[in-house]
């Protein structure tokens, strides 16, 4: 009688231990991957959520006519001669007055108190006044931005220790800010400006927003959608339905699968050399960005469109041809509509990929500092020709700034970008589920 099956022999025990170890490796690989994802997302969210909050100072600002409208005719053209520098002392004095009114005492000089206000605030007030000259002479309540350092106090970025070493603020200012917050003068609230305001300079991270970047990304997505979708679908139809099998179409096939794997930065070099240096399109324009992203997205769209066309069974084509439709009619009347959900899903995924792409856009100048909202069309620059920036490039841009407040902005921009991507992918998944067809 051989060994009983009911007794596990030593060798099998050893082999089973090995099996368990192997399985554990596999499981830990998955855990590592999931953990990496979790850490990545938490890190970004932790750093970035505060970008959606901003600290404001509610101030009653007297707008003296003798300083802001020296001519006295309330004509915006004349009043524009007073620059933001003229507004600075007004705001400073208003804050000093507010501190006194609250009965707070501080060792800070009036200048130091003035530094608690964002440098952007005077421009905001000036714009309001120029838009509505009748405000001059009145005392108006403004919600003005606190400086980046004061903002940092309420977000835990600036501490007493860091303030003591910081030339731009001091522990006294922090204490005063806390007291003002208790008095309800300083308040941290949701920051719509983050989505609408343009970028701001190095000195004023508190004012920087994503307005231009979102607009630029939107323009580029429009260009990509209107070029890549028709071109991608047309070339897929040709390759899948009409192309003869020969060397030329083989070449196109190999070429497309290789283009899908070309590093994105190479497309940037292409854009720089062809669209900017050779065709002389405007640098930094969404048009060039869109063209570069179109070329980059094209292989993705072609590959998914061809898969969608391939999944339509030949019997559909035969049925159409059988009732006397031409090949072209069978494709456009029957195959294409059936493949449409798959094509759409592929297109959205391609667009999402294009939306997050950064490297090629750096090379075509979209990293420039742009404060003007680009117009979709202008007579001088043509369609989508005005300088702009884009969401992911704005992130890169902010990472290059020295003020740590920009880290929060960059992370906030990333969250915004990820939310857009999440929405696009959710739509793609929904479409796939909704229209999925089993033949």
């Amino acid at each position: 009688m051989k060994n009983s099956l009911l007794v596990t022999d030593a060798r099998t025990k050893k082999r089973n231990a090995k099996e368990a170890r192997f399985k554990a490796y596999g499981l830990s690989a998955i855990i590592v991957a999931m953990l990496a994802l979790a850490v990545l997302l938490t890190s970004v969210v932790n750093n970035g959520m505060s970008a959606f909050q901003q600290t404001f100072i509610t101030l009653q600002v007297p707008l003296p006519a003798d300083k802001l409208d020296k001519v006295g005719n309330r004509d915006p053209a004349d009043m524009a001669k007073v620059t933001t520098i003229g507004y600075n002392p007004i705001l400073r004095d208003a804050l000093v007055a507010e501190v006194e009114r609250q009965g707070l005492t501080t060792e800070l000089s009036a200048k130091d108190i003035g530094e608690m206000i964002s440098k952007e605030a005077s421009a905001t007030v000036r714009d309001r006044v120029l838009a509505n000259p009748d405000l001059v002479g009145q005392t108006v309540t403004f919600d003005i931005l606190a400086s980046g350092r004061i903002d940092g106090v309420f977000k835990g970025r600036v501490t007493m220790e860091s303030a003591a070493l910081d030339g731009n603020t001091s522990p006294e200012a922090l204490i005063l800010a806390q007291q003002l917050a208790e008095a309800g003068v300083i308040e941290t609230k949701f920051n719509w400006n983050f989505f609408t305001a343009p970028d701001a300079s190095d000195q004023r991270p508190e004012a920087a927003g994503l307005g231009v970047a979102i607009l630029g990304s939107l323009y580029m997505m429009l260009v990509v959608l209107f070029l890549a979708l028709p071109i991608g679908v047309a070339s897929s139809i040709y390759l899948e339905e009409f192309a003869p099998k020969n060397r030329w179409t083989d070449l196109i096939e190999v070429n497309i699968s290789n283009l899908a794997a070309v590093p994105s930065i190479v497309y940037g070099i292409l854009g720089l050399a062809i669209f900017i240096n050779f065709m002389e399109f405007n640098q930094s324009s969404p048009l060039v960005g869109g063209l570069v992203l179109t070329l980059m997205t094209l292989p993705t769209i072609i590959i998914s469109t061809r898969a969608a066309l391939k999944s339509v069974p030949p019997s559909i084509r035969d049925a159409a041809l059988g009732v006397g439709a031409s090949k072209m009619q069978s494709v456009f009347h029957h195959v294409l509509p059936l493949a449409a959900p798959g094509i759409l899903t592929g297109t959205i995924i391609g667009l999402a990929q294009a939306l997050g792409e950064t490297a090629p856009l750096l090379l075509i100048g979209m990293v420039a500092f742009v404060r003007e909202y680009p117009a979709a069309f202008s007579p001088e620059s043509g369609l989508f020709g005005e300088a702009s920036t884009a969401l992911p490039v704005q992130v890169y841009n902010w990472t290059q700034r020295s003020d740590p407040a920009f880290v929060e902005r960059a992370s906030g921009a990333i969250i915004t970008l990820l939310v857009f991507l999440l929405i696009m992918n959710a739509v793609a998944i929904y479409l796939r589920r909704r229209f999925e067809r089993r033949w």
Partner: protein, 266 residues
């Protein structure tokens, strides 16, 4: 010739019972694939399972070395004993069981390795050879038993996938017997082979009976009649009839068996 067969029969009836199944049920999800099958399979005998496709004969075969464990939705109840040990006992390691109960599949499935490595694979994982010489000997013996030695001895390093269909299947048989099993399960081993290769494999099966208890699933009644001593007829998941092969083919008890062997169902 006639006498020899009778002698064999006489011997086989004296054999011990190798496998005994009692009230076996198999479910694939909601499908009841095997319904209350009980059967006793003799040692050193070729037992054939026949029946129309989808009747459960392969499913039942896969229960005997617990290959159904690899299918997530399969559930087996009842009692299968080999040498009077319950193979579904939680203490039984399927790995050890499968070393004892080898299996040959419908389509020849040599590994993408050399002929030698294909045959040596089982002995290596089960640690049956103490050294290289031992292993060489096992490989040669197995290939000889599988009647492949003469064709393969000069190209043991060639890939197993380069052999012809019949040779591949004999390689798979050699691979299975290299682990020194006591039972050999064959799931339609000739269905992918041409008639000449089939004849070779059938001849081989008859020889294997000397050392193993062989269970073969086949869709060909002629094959069952040619190679087996006992035959079980399955129909719609039921074991309809189980008896000596010549009895099944000459004097079936059940009308369903009769319909099948006379070609009216299946």
């Amino acid at each position: 010739m006639e006498d020899m067969i009778h002698m064999d029969r006489a011997m086989s009836t004296q054999q011990d019972i190798k496998i005994s199944a009692r009230n076996v049920q198999v479910y694939y999800g909601d499908t009841h694939a095997i319904k209350d099958v009980s059967v006793e399979i003799d040692d050193k005998t070729v037992t054939a399972f026949i029946g129309p496709s989808g009747c459960g004969k392969s499913t039942f075969l896969r229960c005997i070395n617990r290959m159904n464990d690899t299918i997530d939705i399969a559930r087996v109840t009842g009692d299968i004993r080999i040498d009077n040990e319950d193979i579904y006992d939680p203490k039984v390691d399927p790995v050890q069981l499968r070393a004892k109960v080898g299996m040959v599949f419908q389509k020849p499935n040599p590994f993408p390795k050399s002929i030698y490595d294909n045959v040596a694979y089982g002995p290596k994982i089960h640690g049956l050879a103490r050294n290289k010489a031992d292993l060489d000997e096992i490989v040669e013996k197995s290939l000889r038993k599988a009647a492949l030695w003469n064709e393969a001895k000069d190209r043991l390093d060639a890939p197993g996938t380069g052999l012809s269909g019949g040779q591949q299947q004999r390689l798979c048989i050699a691979r299975a017997i290299a682990t020194a099993p006591e039972v050999l399960l064959m799931d339609e081993p000739c269905s992918a082979l041409d008639p000449i290769a089939t004849a070779q494999v059938e001849e081989l099966i008859d020889e294997l009976r000397q050392s193993f208890s062989v269970v073969i699933v086949t869709h060909s009644m002629q094959q069952a009649a040619r190679v087996s001593q006992k035959t079980a007829f399955f129909h719609l998941g039921n074991l309809v009839e189980y008896d000596d092969t010549d009895k099944i083919f000459t004097n079936p008890q059940d009308p369903r068996t009769e319909s099948y062997i006379s070609g009216r169902i299946g």
